[in-house]
């Protein structure tokens, strides 16, 4: 740790909040149905989309209709993506003549992109044709993120609505999230990235005669910038190349690294402000954001410090691992020099705090404690920023649990944002919080106990266990990053991790919509002196306490078997 690292982190959080504030305000106007400065261009496009889809934008849906529309849309997305992969050899834009993707991998990848996970058990440049990447993967990068925002907005309408069934129209929320928010942002970020050297080329490869004149060097190209921009912004994370944003063509300079790093947390942070504005009490949004930052900043500092340590692999050799003005030092295995140790660790924390899952360094080669932080952040249920939309609705579930616990302590009916929280809401919240946790633990246990599970491990002992725990934490919480030493492109893992991704997405989103429907039907209760304030420091502490407690109770035993044992063995 040095002063530069602290300064970098402070700058990162500062710029993030400065960008998130206006964006959050803007999104509140978008989802409140108001006119915005983009309306001149976006509004005709929006109407054209409704006409083409046969959507009546004025029709409000109850929670069941909203959930049905979401499921049908994502089901269609899954079917299209699966079919595209299975037929890519006969489809256009396949100059490398890549063959059809095998069924188990196509299933896994389709689930992965539709559920906003972007777990990739394949190498991008050697498996997916340009057509599949564009027409299949990039599209889901947009609409899976837009779906997350839609579910969040529906939940907000549940809090705001009074004795109504109406939660808005899924198609309108989907279209507005895409046209007013994701597309314009992605355009700007994509072009900024190209200016730094991210490629955007119709050619799929070029061959270079090397300086030493040995074998020529084939260099893969492609339509990279357009995919990288949305994979960062939409908390998708699925890269164009195998090594994701560690690849110099996905992330060529320190500045591109900064832009991509900001893009990871931009929308999840901005949505906190949107939330505050839509519930007409900005302090509520600040409280949720504060709870996220209270967990994010210390964990980032901890991971950065861990990675600055000299790696055990060089111990006793005449290697200089001290950080200096002319050398990065620290644990550089699996890290890129232009990025360095601190920003690799910061990225690892941001990408797992958000359910992004893109990487700019190989998490598998992190020090045991440096690798523990990303794993733990995913296990918290992806609520420290979390996915676009999904992170905040996950955090709102924890807020319900927090007011419920506080209500038990003082013997009052719990209330949140003016709505009484009853048995049904608590049942649904419990399902949504516990289902992904159970999936992580059961999946890891199954993989440990079966030959097909153990056969894929690159490392033995506690690190092998960490690879398994990481994979199921990542899939069940829709993150998508990996301890890539695990060979996951097998029938066993493609099926089991595919199931985990489905549980992680839909056993959270559906209960959330059910809660939204139930809350909307209730009357709003006026604030009284006995109402628990949900915007002050006390509540933030309570909320952080609940999130950490649930995470710790579920996962400390498992973490002790993996990274903690490994750390102890290091000394």
């Amino acid at each position: 740790m040095s002063a530069v690292d602290g300064l970098e982190l402070a700058l990162y959080v500062g710029v993030l909040l400065a960008l998130a504030w206006p964006l959050g305000t803007y999104m509140a106007r978008v989802f409140g149905g108001e006119r915005t400065w983009l309306s001149t261009i976006a509004s005709p496009l929006e109407r054209a989309l409704y006409r083409a889809g046969g959507v009546d934008p004025s029709r409000a849906m109850n929670w069941k209709a909203y959930a049905l529309a979401m499921l049908v849309f994502q089901g269609a997305g899954f079917a299209l993506l699966y079919a595209l992969q299975r037929m890519q050899s006969v489809l256009p834009l396949n100059p490398q003549a890549l063959s059809d993707v095998p069924p188990h991998l196509a299933f896994n990848t389709a689930v992965s992109f539709v559920s906003n996970t972007n777990w990739q058990s394949y190498g991008g440049e050697t498996t997916m044709s340009a057509f599949t990447q564009l027409v299949g993967l990039t599209v889901q990068n947009f609409v899976s993120a837009a779906t997350g925002i839609a579910v969040l907005v529906a939940l907000v309408r549940g809090f705001v609505g009074r004795t109504t069934e109406a939660l808005g129209n899924f198609w309108v929320d989907l279209v507005r999230a895409t046209v007013y928010v994701l597309l314009p942002l992605a355009l700007v970020v994509a072009l900024a990235l190209v200016s730094q050297g991210v490629v955007q080329s119709l050619a799929s490869a070029v061959t270079a005669a090397t300086l030493e004149g040995g074998a020529p060097q084939p260099i893969a190209l492609g339509l990279v910038a357009s995919q990288v921009a949305i994979k960062q912004l939409g908390t998708n994370g699925g890269g164009f190349f195998n090594v994701n944003s560690a690849h110099p063509f996905e992330n060529p300079t320190p500045l591109s690294n900064g832009i991509e790093l900001l893009s990871i947390l931009l929308l999840p942070a901005a949505l906190c402000f949107t939330f505050g504005r839509l519930v007409k009490d900005l302090r509520q949004g600040w409280a949720l954001l504060a709870a996220m930052l209270v967990m994010f900043v210390p964990l980032a500092l901890f991971a950065i410090a861990a990675e600055h340590g000299a790696p055990p692999s060089v111990a006793g050799m005449e290697v200089d691992a001290m950080s200096s003005a002319s050398s990065p030092g620290g644990n550089m295995e699996g890290k890129e020099l232009r990025v360095g140790v601190a920003e690799s660790a910061l990225w690892a924390v941001a990408t797992t705090a958000a359910s992004n899952g893109s990487v700019n360094s190989m998490h598998d080669s992190f020090t045991p404690l440096g690798g523990l932080v990303p794993m733990f952040l995913m296990q918290l249920g992806e609520v420290v920023f979390g996915g676009v939309g999904s992170g905040l609705y996950g955090m709102a579930l924890f807020a319900l649990v927090a007011v419920f616990i506080a209500g038990l302590m003082v013997g009052r009916t719990p209330e949140y944002l003016g709505k009484k929280i009853g048995v049904f809401e608590m049942q649904m919240a419990s399902v949504a919080i516990l289902a992904p946790c159970a999936m992580v633990l059961i999946g890891t246990a199954l993989a440990c106990a079966t030959d097909s599970g153990r056969a894929s491990l690159q490392d033995r002992g506690p690190h092998g266990f960490s690879e398994l725990l990481y994979a199921f934490s990542s899939a069940s919480n829709n993150n998508g990053s990996a301890f890539a030493g695990l060979t996951a492109a097998t029938d066993f893992y493609d099926a089991l991790l595919g199931l985990a991704m489905l549980v992680g997405r839909y056993l959270v989103a559906l209960p959330v919509l059910a809660i939204a429907g139930s809350l909307a039907a209730k009357k709003s209760v006026p604030t009284s002196p006995g109402t628990l304030a949900t915007h002050d420091v006390l509540f933030v502490v309570l909320l952080v306490g609940v999130v950490l407690l649930v995470g710790a109770l579920n996962f400390v035993p498992a973490l002790a078997l993996g990274p903690i044992v490994e750390h102890l063995r290091m000394h």
Binding site: P312, M332, A484
Partner: protein
Amino acid sequence: MVRRQVSIAVRMLLVMTLLTGVVYPALVTFVAQLVFPARAQGSLILRDGRVVGSELIGQHFTSPRYFWGRPSATSRPYDASASAGSNWGPLAPELRTAVASRVELLRASDPAQREPIPVDLVTASGSGLDPHISPASALWQAPRVARERGLSEARVRELVGQYSEPRTFGLLGQPRVNVLRLNLALDELR
């Protein structure tokens, strides 16, 4: 109700595919090729009209006359058609063996160089294609390159200084040297 929603879903998916899967990448490609053509095509370096590499992609150097880049974990070193990191865990015995053999190779390349080797020169990068080494790693190799090329060490160190880039805005990233560009400049010195 279900049938109507299915029909809407299929039509929405198709128009969204058109918008985000065709129009969006086409628009980005068009503007990128117009405004940043060289960047969009991979920042290629031409020498005598031939592509000799990309400014952003590292190359495998084995001759003692050139500066060497970081170890690469791709199946053939610096294979830019299939990027890869080693993904060895921090305590993996294989990683320790690999580091030891890299140390041995570097020591053998210049037995007179007694300074400790900077860590980035013995650890594999994340992509296997890292175009940079630290200034310390370049300076560590300077005596060897100078001797092999019959140049003064001061001249080579000066060139390394010339090709060292600082942190962006004094804050972001790491001070670094682009190995391919440095080696091209070496070739120009004659």
